[in-house]
């Protein structure tokens, strides 16, 4: 991987900062396309580090580690949002191709900047305000009513950094944590949707079908592709929103937009600029997986077709149960349904931890959902009684 003093290697090398399951699944997509793939892992036993030939162990908060990592890569990309902005800028200043770049990534790291920018772009967002004390929250609640959602401006993920406060004492407790916070209107939605788009440095864009996502305790449980009974106009609106936000923010790579489906239309909840849990179904359910698409985009290769390969795709996350021995149950799930696709991330199971996912494809939605749920739930809990 040394780029110095030798003839240029025609095979591009993509380096991904972070070695979780997103990097693990990206690794297989790189293998298929003959792309060299390197991960920066915190420890050698992380999910992607277990299966990637080129692993650099280092700290994503260390400038020295990041710069050394980037030195061997043609393109640097990310499996999480936790690299400090100034370090991303430092890699760019040193001449590295960082995709997405710091200009785009700041909107995933700073929720206030994201809200301000999306509102300026005309996207429907919840009411929001920076709050520094109980008076601010009280004033905000006077406009929007209770509950009020408080969010950490930076560092949230999978429900962490988000608090739904029913009253001022609850808000005061969150304020006491000493974090920079915004208040957001509590949006009453009928369901949650997500749209995944890709954008290349050349400006090519591609949008996947809009999906319905089911969250519990802030963690994604299920994704249904396409979102059932979503009117074509709403699909077009969501895809157009994703593509135009990606362009306006200068995103390169994948971007997922999480949306609330409300009686007043689609409201933007969150943005992520990387492969996303709402897109795991694309491995089997789309002509081009989100992981291949991300690699194509960051390498400025023409994007692949985001077309669905089946009428319905349903993905259910495997969240660890009380008994961590998933593997002993694998045989039963495989025997019960030889067509369900099981993905395990190589992570030790702990209660509530995402340790894998299951995807089922089919013609009948309820049957497909049932297959995915039964498999995922049995793997985690050893029972099919998932309802």
């Amino acid at each position: 991987m040394d780029s110095k003093g030798s003839a240029p290697d025609p095979v591009p090398a993509v380096g991904m900062v972070g070695a979780g399951q997103l990097a693990r699944m990206t690794s297989s997509a790189a293998t298929a396309l003959g792309i060299r793939f390197r991960v920066l892992a915190a420890t050698p036993d992380e999910s992607a580090a277990q299966v990637t030939a080129d692993v650099v162990v280092g700290d994503h908060r260390s400038k020295a580690d990041l710069m050394a990592f980037a030195d061997g890569c043609d393109v640097v990309t990310f499996d999480h949002e936790n690299v400090p902005g100034p370090l991303i800028e430092a890699m760019e200043a040193a001449g590295h191709a960082v995709r997405p770049g710091s200009r785009a990534l700041k909107y995933t790291q700073d929720k206030l900047a994201m809200r301000e920018r999306l509102t300026a772009l005309g996207c429907q967002c919840p009411e929001f305000a920076l709050v520094t004390g109980p008076d601010d929250v009280a004033a905000f609640a006077a406009k929007t009513g209770w509950p009020v959602v408080l969010k950490a401006v930076s560092g949230g993920y999978d429900g962490r950094g988000v608090w739904v406060c029913q009253d001022l004492p609850a808000a005061a407790e969150v304020l006491g944590k000493g974090l920079e916070l915004i208040a957001e209107e509590y949006v009453r939605f009928s369901r949650e949707l997500a749209v995944l788009v890709a954008r290349s440095p050349s400006g090519q864009g591609a949008a996947y079908p809009v999906v319905e996502t089911v969250q519990k305790d802030g963690i994604c449980r299920e994704v249904i592709a396409p979102a059932p009974e979503l009117p074509p106009l709403a699909t077009a609106e969501a895809q157009g929103l994703g593509l135009s936000v990606a362009r306006d923010l200068g995103v390169v790579g994948l971007m997922a937009v999480e949306l609330f489906d409300t009686s007043d239309g689609l409201v933007v909840n969150e943005l992520a600029m990387r492969p996303h849990n709402s897109g795991h179904w694309t491995i089997e359910g789309s002509v081009t997986s989100q992981f291949e698409q991300h690699l194509r985009a960051v390498l400025d290769l023409p994007l692949g077709s985001p077309t669905q390969a089946s009428r319905w795709s349903v993905m259910v996350n495997i969240l660890g149960g009380d008994d961590p021995d998933l593997r002993s149950r694998l045989v039963h799930v495989m025997a019960a349904d030889p067509a369900v696709k099981i993905h395990l991330y190589g992570k030790p199971s702990r209660p509530g931890r995402k340790v894998g996912h299951v995807t089922a494809l089919g013609q009948d939605l309820e049957r497909t959902r049932e297959r995915a749920w039964r498999a995922a739930y049995y793997l985690a809990h050893g029972t099919e009684e998932y309802t």
Copy 2:
């Protein structure tokens, strides 16, 4: 991977002897299922060694190297037929789970034993005879006519070790090489077919759709799944043959049976007991890829569904052309057809060398073939004029 002196690791480890493209593609299937995967590579830059976290560099003809490799694996399997039989037996004698085992593998390493056994099992084979000199060949040709096919009893692959002799002087030249040879009747066929089956230690079997394969100079160029216009009875016959041969020979894992389609029915050409070029289309074209299926089989997990995911799947191998710089042409192929699936093996391109493959899925056979051929040919040669 050290199995001594520590608590048993619940994640099974499959070791594959050989690190070519078959091992490379198996590696990604292992990643998805959370199976630890280790390869024995001749050099650290082999196709699979580039992308596998756990690589042991060693010689597959060395007993010490094989035994050391097997020590860290729950199951040992193979990406080629070149491990000497006595060394496979030595691994078994030492208590290692070798799948397929020596009893089955000998039929892929000894063409005379294969012909004798298949004939005894009632499979239609070409006429054959062991030949040690020109008199034997002349006597054989008196029965079957010229040309006569001479085959090395062991060590052949991709057209190597096979000579079509038009007359006795040509045969004498081959005999002069000093190899152990069999003579085979030159079978006049309308086309070549292949059937891929899987079998587990528990005896579960699964058969993929029968495919048509197109060879040139002994090298597979194209695979069409399913074989066009193959009567249902012939499909059932081929699948039944594959499953019964796998059972009778005690195969564990995948087995491909190459067949001639003749006016007298199906004639067995060759056997392979591993993932096979005729099954690469299954990565996108089947619910379960052959690589996942092989892992399930050797681990005695329930087999996956071999159902086709699309009406037609066409795979065309990328054989290197005069200009080795495939990668500069990748952008054009991806732009021309965003739905074609490109697989590159990380091997330097040389004229005629298999360096990757392309798979296209579709509803219309001729259009699907054209898409796969154009992409594969353009990658190799920089022209679409492939006919």
